[in-house]
């Protein structure tokens, strides 16, 4: 039987299906007590609308793997940081065309970041068109050379 931890780690993000919850770094703990699994996750943003779907996806995956009646808890503290996205998660984001967040959000936000390279042509001649994108965790950018609009994971 697959461990509950392995089952939960393989569940994917509903908005970013190339990433598992483990890649995204939102999985805090998976514990088993009295035949029941308790999963604790942390939202990327307080109001992340994907949380309810994640809750459903986790309990469903566990149920199918032989762990019925799991409980999913959410916990805000310590606050999630984009630094928690794993190296594997960053690679998957980049492969998908979403620029991964710069390492170490704690070192400073956008203003002090290295130039962002266009995922299509690699040019660093890019600009941020909006810090708010299709999901709370992503910003909109544009390449000034190939003109491709693209998304970039926010550094928080």
């Amino acid at each position: 039987m697959v461990t509950a931890d392995a089952v939960v780690s393989a569940v994917t993000d509903p908005e970013l299906p190339m990433l598992t919850l483990a890649d995204l770094g939102i999985l805090r703990s998976v514990t088993e007590a009295d035949g029941r699994v308790v999963v604790t996750i942390t939202p990327t943003y307080t109001a992340c609308p994907a949380i309810e779907t994640m809750r459903y996806d986790i309990t469903r995956a566990l149920s199918l793997a032989g762990y019925p009646g799991a409980e999913v808890r959410t916990e805000l503290a310590p606050a999630w940081s984009s630094d928690w996205i794993t190296p594997e998660g960053r690679r998957k984001l980049a492969d998908y065309g979403i620029v991964p967040p710069a390492a170490a959000a704690s070192l400073g936000r956008r203003e002090s970041r290295a130039p962002i390279a266009c995922p299509r042509c690699g040019s660093t001649h890019t600009e941020c068109t909006s810090e708010f994108g299709s999901t709370p965790c992503k910003a909109l950018h544009r390449c000034r050379d190939c003109l491709e609009p693209f998304e970039c994971f926010k550094c928080i």
Partner: protein, 250 residues
């Protein structure tokens, strides 16, 4: 989580939660109204962040007051005089200049309060504050960029931005009065006044806007449940569906 009742903490969570809920509603009204699509997306994102903060705070209020009432109860089934938000949150902004002025003031003030709340003795409040600081920093930056762009733009945009600031300015002094509950359970907003003045001063200087001196306020009516005439219609819209069908789920 402790089940013992803590009325001050509950009231404080309602104050911060109502600020976020009502401001979120006002921002949502700008969907389809903003000057560009990306600003619609930005305002909706900011509204969503604030709604998330409100949910955590209203839920905490329900555990802190010992009633166990849900976030939905506080949002949908309270009367106007039970809402404890500041007046700035309920102001109806009909011009984008007014909106970004209100958002700049609101986010600058809230961010300063939240930064101090990360050290709260209440774990839920401290955890929410640490999370919300990251979000509201983006809100403040967004508003500041627009205020500078419009203020330091054309003669027409400058005039409208200055008028926008004047429109919301009467509501600013209330933010720093400091209700007894705020002083006992959280952060005395009077303590963030200097930081607020510094940030506003920097942004308005870059925007070539004149900042009027604040006329000191002696009471914070919103914190005592007294509201402007804009609040009734806002609540009618916010609560209408839930009240029309009490069994509805979503």
């Amino acid at each position: 989580m402790s089940s013992t009742s803590d009325p001050d903490l509950a009231a404080y969570c309602l104050m911060l939660g109502d600020d976020a809920l009502i401001m979120s509603h006002r921002l949502q009204e700008w969907c389809t109204m903003a000057p560009e699509l990306k600003d619609e997306v930005a305002l909706a994102n900011i509204a969503l962040d604030l709604l998330g903060q409100a949910r955590v705070l209203l839920t905490r209020a329900g555990s802190a007051d010992g009633s166990g009432r849900s976030e939905d109860y506080y949002a949908y089934f309270r009367e106007e005089d039970e809402f404890l938000n500041v007046w700035l949150a309920e102001v109806r902004c009909k011009d984008f200049g007014q909106l970004v002025a209100a958002l700049l003031v609101f986010a600058t003030w809230r961010l300063a309060v939240l930064q101090r709340l990360t050290g709260s003795s209440d774990d839920v409040l401290a955890g929410l504050a640490a999370k919300a600081v990251k979000e509201v920093t983006y809100h403040r930056d967004y508003a500041a960029r627009w205020v500078i762009r419009l203020g330091d733009g054309t003669a027409a945009s400058h005039e409208r931005m200055q008028a926008g600031l004047a429109y919301i300015w009467p509501y600013v002094a209330e933010l720093f009065v400091g209700h007894e509950v705020e002083k006992r359970a959280g952060v005395d907003p009077a303590d963030v006044r200097a930081e607020f003045d510094r940030v506003l001063g920097e942004v308005c200087a870059a925007a070539t806007l004149v900042v009027q001196p604040l006329v000191p306020a002696h009471c914070s009516p919103g914190r005592d449940g007294m509201h402007t005439e804009a609040m009734g219609p806002l609540l009618a819209e916010l609560q209408g569906v839930a009240r029309a069908d009490g069994d509805a789920t979503w």
